[in-house]
Structures are given as C-alpha cells and as structure tokens.
Symmetry: D2
Subunit: 249 residues, 4 copies
C-alpha cells in the first residue's frame, strides 16, 4: 500500500473573508464597479464559497483519498512553513488580488521546493499572476481577462495525457471569466486543454511545465464569483493534476 499523496491547498482568502471585504470592495470599485454592485459581488462570493475557495478545492480531494491540508495568506508564514512544505508533495495555489502581499522570502521558499526538491505546483486561474508562477515561467504571464459570466468550453488536445483521464473530448463550464490569448508564457511542454468562448476568445487552459525537479501545471478555470470548483470535471482535472505533479517527488 502506498502512502497517500500529500496536498496543500493555498488560498489568499480575501474575497470570501469578511475581514477583507472592505479592501476587496475598494479594489472592485477601482475597477469601475459601483459601491452597490461591489458589495453585492462580495456577498455573492461568500454564498458560493462560504468556507473559502480552498475548502471547496480540498473537499473533493479528501474524498478521493488524498491527504489534504489548507493554508492561507493571513496565517503565519502564509501557512507555508518549512514544516508544512516538508509534508507537501503537491501545492495548489489560488490567488487573485493580493499577489503582492505574499512575502518574497516565502515565495522564494516555495519556488525552491519546486525546482530543487520536486514539489509539484498547480496554479489555478489567476494563480498565473502569482510571484511563484511568474518566477517559474520567466515571462509576464499577462493575459486579457474579461469578466463576463460566459460559458467556457475546454477541449482536450492530448487525449492520452494523464491529466485528461476520465474526461470527454470537451466539456463546458457554464459561467466563467474569460482569459484571452495572447497569454505570455513560454511554450508549454504539453498543452492538455484549449478553451474557447462564444465571443471568440481562446486560451491554452491546461499547460504542463517541467522546471528543475518539479512538475508545474496551470489550470485556467476558477473565478471566485462562479461555482466552478463544485463541478465534477474541474474536480477531476485537479485530482488528475495532483497525481501527475506528484510523480517527480
């Protein structure tokens, strides 16, 4: 019997946390929201992810037998102490609005674990803008985001890839934020998914990278205002990616 893969799900945990609502609302208002709609949005997030996105990501992984803990920005060392990383095979990263609040030393520590020790790393959604992911890529990781609620169809480009296991040729996530190409990343080692939206945008939505000893996966879907991580296909992709990313360690 093999020991279960040990996963740490990291979340900046601002949108879903009343302690940070004022800041989140101010941020949305600076992006053109009215105060009313900013408040509505915050409350919407909390309804969808009442315990935080990290718990929504962690629960189905636990059910599938992975050993899962969570960590958030506000915890000491952002919940990513050496002790925690020592017991982490794969780190899942969800962050959106406060990437800059992640301490450089902690980002460096996580980065080193990946490239030097082979910890797997999965960047979800705008985890692509995190310090760790950008450092791994060596590019800006810029993309064109469009808040729209439009449905996203993900196509499997490498049907035999382990991360595509158990999925149909394509599947739809009913409500999403669009990320339009060009997406400024190095050419991935493998592209597992490409997405499209009815308005015509496309995105390389599932991308694999070997960096040093570590396996890195980017999975695009996951906006905080939509219940994406409750959808079976998203959960399947994340579980597959955890197994894939753990293989180096």
């Amino acid at each position: 019997m093999t020991a279960p893969i040990r996963v740490t799900v990291w979340n900046e945990f601002w949108h879903e946390n009343p302690l940070h609502w004022e800041a989140v609302q101010r941020s949305w208002m600076s992006h053109g929201y009215s105060e009313e709609s900013a408040i509505e949005e915050t409350e919407g997030v909390r309804k969808i992810y009442p315990d935080g996105i990290h718990e929504a990501i962690a629960a189905p992984l636990r059910e599938q037998g992975f050993s899962v803990r969570t960590a958030t920005l506000d915890e000491p060392e952002h919940g990513l102490s050496e002790a925690v990383l020592n017991e982490t095979d794969v780190l899942i990263w969800w962050g959106h609005v406060v990437h800059e609040k992640v301490d450089d030393a902690i980002a460096e520590r996580v980065y080193r674990r990946i490239v030097d020790e082979g910890m797997g790393f999965i960047a979800l959604h705008w985890g692509a803008g995190s310090k760790v992911f950008k450092k791994l890529m060596g590019t800006s990781c810029s993309v064109t985001p469009i808040v729209s609620g439009a449905p996203e169809r993900l196509w499997i480009i490498e049907p035999a890839h382990p991360i595509a296991r158990g999925l149909e040729t394509s599947f739809v996530i009913p409500q999403t934020e669009i990320y339009g190409e060009p997406f400024d990343i190095p050419a991935p080692d493998s592209i597992v998914f490409i997405s499209s939206w009815p308005s015509g945008e496309v995105c390389r939505s599932g991308c694999c990278f070997q960096r040093g000893r570590g396996r890195v996966f980017f999975f695009r879907p996951g906006h905080e205002t939509y219940p994406i991580y409750y959808q079976r296909e998203a959960q399947q992709v994340i579980a597959n990616a955890v197994e894939w990313a753990a293989r180096s360690s």
Copy 2:
C-alpha cells in the same frame, strides 16, 4: 541583391476543373448531398476559383516578388518532376478529395526533398491529410471537419513569430469549414495560431515543425467553397510562411 524565393503551388485541381466535376459531385453525394446541391456546390467553387485554387494562391505571391510556378495532379509526374523540385525552395500543397491518387513514388520524392534537402513545405487546409504531410507527422492527422460556413477567428499565440508578421492580435475569416480538435498531430515545435468558431470548436491552426533539414508549416483555412485565399490576412500568412520555410534551404 538576393534571388527571389522559388515557390511551387501544388493543387489537386479537381473541384474547380470541369473534367472532374462528375467525380466531385458523386463524392459530395456520397457525403449526403442531393444531386442538385452537389451540382450547385461545384458551380460555386468554379465561380470563386475560376482558374483553380492554385492560381488564387500564386497570384498574390507573385505580386510580392516571389518566383512562383504551379503544378497539379493531372500533369505528368503531378507537375513535380525532379527538374521542378530542383528549382523549388518552398512547396505549397492544397489537396482535399483525391489524396490517394497521388503516386507513392512522387509523394516519396517530395518527402525526401523536404527532410534530406531542406525544401520548405506548407500544407494548406486538408493538405494535412496528404500522403506527404502524414508521413512527415507520423500520426493519422485526423480531425473533426464540419462544413458550416461559420466564421473562424484566428488568434496569434506567438506574437513575435515571423509567420505572424503584419497581423493583428486576431483576425476573422468570415466563412469556413470547421476543423475541431482533437487534431492528431505530434506537439508542434511552435503554435502560431489557434482558431475558434462560434459553436465552440477550437483548432491549432498554424503549426511549425522541423523535419530533417526541412521546415514544415500547417495553415488550416482554405476550403474550396469559400473565397478565403482572396483575403489579405490569409495571403499575408502564406507569404510569411514561405519566407520562414525557405530559410533552411
């Protein structure tokens, strides 16, 4: 002063050639067309490409200063004698319904020129199903075609790639046949374009491959029933690709 790049545009030349209309119509009828609509379709092709698709591809290349000749299936040796290949830096290939009529020895001759001598090769549209392209890929090259007349939006994935020169972030071809992923090719060395359609399909529509000494480019658009090769952007891509593919020789 450098000598101009020498291009040979090959076309099977059946759809646009009255000598083969009966065969083309029979083929369409076997795909579910009524006799009436099959006849109408054939006449439509001829109206769009009265001198053959090869001439529509060749004309703008000539205007840009390339040295261009054409070749078609019905010519002796399919117009691809050793003498012609000796004077060809880049071969453009358009074929759709009669790939099997291309003589194995000629396909082998073209293939050898590419991998052994560094002749560039550009497969347009269902040129992806040609003997030469399939041999270069080592895979089935199967894809899901959907005749639809739907608009295709092509996104530039590698903005600095020479084949993307002079193009906007994305452009639309108003009427196209859809090719839906999965498209069974090896991972390209570079993906220059990804397409989407309103019905949700996506395709890696501009793909670069090094094979032996030769540079190979696949460009998806080009169905015979739509005036795609008269569009500026398609012409620009083909001209860019010719320059790119000629660099090895």
Copy 3:
C-alpha cells in the same frame, strides 16, 4: 491490487540464431569483415545471448513483476497477432539487420496500436531503424554508427523524469557501438539521456515522444556483441520506460 503491466519483447532473432548465421555472416562480410572474424563475431553473440536478446531483456522484467512474453521475426505474424497485441500494454522492439523482412501489414498493425490504442513502444538500439519507429518519427532516423567497443557514458538530462528513477547522475556502459549525432529525429518531447564516448561523439540516447495516444521511448544502448542488457542500469532504464510507456493505455 493493480494487474501487472503486460510487456511483449520483440526481437528479430537473427544474430543469435544458428539458422540465420550464414546470412548474418554474409552481411558482416559485406561490411568489410573477413570470413574468420565474421564467424568469430557470430559465435561471440551466441555466447553472450545464448537464448536470444529477447530473453535477456525479458528475464529482469519478469523478476520485477511485469507480465512478459516474447515474439520473434520467424514466428507466424512475427509473433504479433492481434490476439498478442490485445494483451500487450508495452511493446519493446529490438531489430538490427533485417528490418525489411518485417511485413508491412504487421508493421502497420503495430503502428496503429500505438497511435490509435495507446500501446507503449520502446525502440532499443537500432530499433530506431525499424519500420514502425521510422513511421512514428516521420524522418530518416539516420545516425552514424561506429563499431568500436568503446565505453559510453550516459548523462541524465532530466533528473526528475520517471525514466531516470534510481539512477546516478551518469553511468557507464563499458562496451558499446557508437551512434554519432546528427541523429535525424524530430525534436523529442523530452530528452532523458545524452551519451558521450571518449572519441568525442555524442547522442541523444533516451528520447520520449507522444504519438497519437501512444508513448514512445528510444533507448540507444544494446549492441548484440556486448552484454549490455545484463547491466543493472540498462535494466533499470528499460523497467522505468515500461512503466512510463504504459501510462497512456
């Protein structure tokens, strides 16, 4: 408990088979050997691999719990009937002097299993010149072979790759035939090993390719006149590669 991976080890089985010695000796003599040394060489091969190279490859895999059968050129359908392939997760291919005697239909059958069904395929040594491998690559696969008996040092280029598991940074195979670059293959998806020899040659000696649904691995060492497959490191690489190649199926 998972069922063991089912491996078929294919060998052309000429060098080690007295029925074919005359032919093998003639072949060696045509490459410049004297009759005496050709005979000596044949006898040497038989001493090293008395039951055929396939048995030397199969034995350590059996010990590690894989379910292993063998197949050879002289068997009906070269031992590669549909029934056998139905029960094969990974096919290992060793061939050297009689690639052309492999029936085109059988080569096509094996090829289809790989790209359409996801059977893993491992080409050992001059298995790179086999019909199946060349068809998968789409290139000539030519390389410069030098019979020398020189030691080959293999370096691990991707230390975290599953095929490098259990190996040191580099290891030496004491006696080998050299394959000098350029080796005419498409750029591999991953390069796991690069070899060098004291006379200066290098070779990409462990190369991974995804082709359709199938995983393909090339492992360079393995000349019939040296006891390479009895060496622990070579056995480790082959076992690792079997596990890696089986993952698609």
Copy 4:
C-alpha cells in the same frame, strides 16, 4: 538596402581590467588558487584579451557589417541606459564573477526589453548565471563547471538551424572550461549544439528559447583564460545567433 543589425556587447570587464585584478585574484584564491597562480592567471587573461573580452567579441561582428557598440559594468547604468537599449536589436552578455554587482533595476530593464520589446539576448558562457538569464529561464541554471583546459567538441544537432549555418558536423575548441550536465534549464525550444569532452562530460551548448517577444540564445564556450573568441567557428556561431535573435525585433 536594410539597415545593419545593432548589437551591444556587454562585458562585466573585471578579469581583464587592472582596476579589478586584486578582487579577481582574491576570488581565485578563495577557489583554491595560490597567490602566485592567481596572479599568473590574471596576467594570462590580459594577454589573451588585452582590450577586454567585449572587444574580442565586437571586432569580428563589426567586420561582418553589424553595427556594434560595447558596454561594461563600471559604466554609468552599466552602459545600458534606455538610450542605448533603444538602439540595440541584440544584446550579447558576458559575465562571470560579479553577477551580483549588476543593479536589479538595470537587470529588470534589460529583461523587459527582451520579453516586452523583442530585443534579442545572447548569453555567452557563464552569462547563464546572470540575473537576466536566470530570470528568463525560471530555474537555477546551475551546472558543474570544471576548470580543465580540455578540448570541447561541439556537435550540430539541428543541421538546418540558422545558427548552424556555415559550420561542419562538429568542431573542436582546443582549450575550454567544462560545464557538465545536468544543466538546470527548462527544455529549450531548440538544441543546436551538444558538446562533449574527453573526460566524458556533455552539455547542451547551444540552446534557443522564445521568451515573450524576445529570442534568447545560450552559447556555452568562452572562458576568459582561453582565446576562444578568436576562433573562426565561435565567431561564426555568434554572428549567426545575432541574425537569428534579431528577427523578432
């Protein structure tokens, strides 16, 4: 007539500069050199590159018609002002012992020019350890250096690559410092050269990377104590790489 490509050759210019000899000698002594041999080494460098390595790199480029300027660490803004970068199509980087003295803001400025504006970047020798190159790669770029004076044989892996133009299948640099794999870089987009040494080491010695809009090339040879940049083949590679790297801008 096209305007000539504008090249800036950057050199930290310590080994060859009497102002920094004491520091260089101290550094060598900390690596186990006696004072005597450290002094001898410094004088040796100056004999080989009396005007600095940058001038040895710049001179043959000038002869071939490129428009070349140089820049060094001690100049204001390390010689890399916005005005200079505005007039630079390709930046060549040679650095070895004082990477840390490069100002973060200047490194960032250079990095941005590459990924955002498409300036070409060529890292020579231990330019692989520079801030800019490491940031582009997202990995440690660590390698095993062995000061040896041993001859390095470089093999061309992609014979049709523009950077291999005008070169034989392999060539030898008589005296070199060894860089042994594993070399911790992401899988390159193309590998143009692989090196070997008589002691058995290998290295991916010519590697191409697209990063954002910029083309990046790593060329391994170039230790300060050997006259490598006076050798025709090294000069040819650098000139070819300049032409290749300039194509994005």
